[in-house]
Amino acid sequence: MARLNVNPTRMELSSLKKKLASAQRGHKLLKDKRDELMRQFMNLIKENKQLRSEVEAGIAEANRYMAVAGSVMQREALETALMLPKQEVELEVSEKNVMSVYIPVFSPKYRTGDTDDIYSYGTAFTSVDLDGAILALSEIFPKMIRLAEIEKACQLMADEIEKTRRRVNALEHIMIPDYQETIKYITMKLSENERSTTTSLMKVKDMVLNQSHNFN
């Protein structure tokens, strides 16, 4: 480990000791943060995986209906049927703080009170498969919103976990050992100085005594 480039003085020593104490406290806190984030991330990611398979299955079903509808109806007729939607959805976004990661929470607000009011066309000129497609989509839509929320949460938490892990590692393997080594170096240097002062004093004392009293 590299020793820090500082003067071996008492002042440096005491400031380094303070830094070491706060680095150790920070290390412990960050480690706890990382562990808790990881625990929550694992729960979320399981739900995320489950939800994603459900959503993908639901959309695949809707797409099957849509493909059939597209083949029995004319393209223009299909587009026209869906041109003016009755329903409109807005999301109310609030945020949740998970270990200082701010994750969005979406709650849908529909324009019409009846969420089943989704068919924007008369049934006379459209294929029944189009109804099926739209029904399948509307059934899966609440899950899609939850998926958006949870997938964002997973991405943000993955970022934060990575950052926190880097910080923990930097403290654990670089900063704390560096401080410890520098503190050791300064302590050694200071006691070495002290010893050398003592010996030179003893020497001087001997010389003075020798001169004045001819002691040996």
Binding site: V55, A67, L91, V93, E95, P104, F106, I118
Partner: protein, 106 residues
């Protein structure tokens, strides 16, 4: 703190038309450059959630990456009409790999 935001769907016409009935804003776009621009524009104009089909997402990778670490918008990959490429699931595995260090899903 709460605000209202809108929801968009981007992809080829056949895959995304159905979402119009649910009241989502539908954008039929299949060109790489236009998709990237669209994503930036939607993000700047208060869209909170953007669903994008996997083939469309493959064309605008850079733009999507840019918003991955931001709180909003959430960009979610959905399968297109011609089948599931598994890219959405791979995104999940990537997140796990980033957080844990190795892919421990499954």
């Amino acid at each position: 703190m709460s605000e209202m935001c809108k929801t968009a769907v981007i992809g080829d016409s056949a895959s995304v038309s159905g979402f119009a009935a649910l009241g989502l804003s539908v954008f039929r776009e299949t060109e790489a450059e236009k998709i990237s621009k669209l994503i930036h524009r939607l993000a700047a104009n208060g869209f909170g959630v953007i669903y994008i089909t996997e083939p469309a997402a493959a064309l605008a990778d850079e733009a999507i990456k840019k918003y991955r670490s931001r709180k909003l918008p959430a960009i979610v990959l959905i399968p297109a009409i011609d089948g599931n490429t598994g890219e959405g699931m791979r995104g999940l595995h990537r997140a796990v790999e980033k957080a844990v260090g190795s892919d421990i899903l499954n």
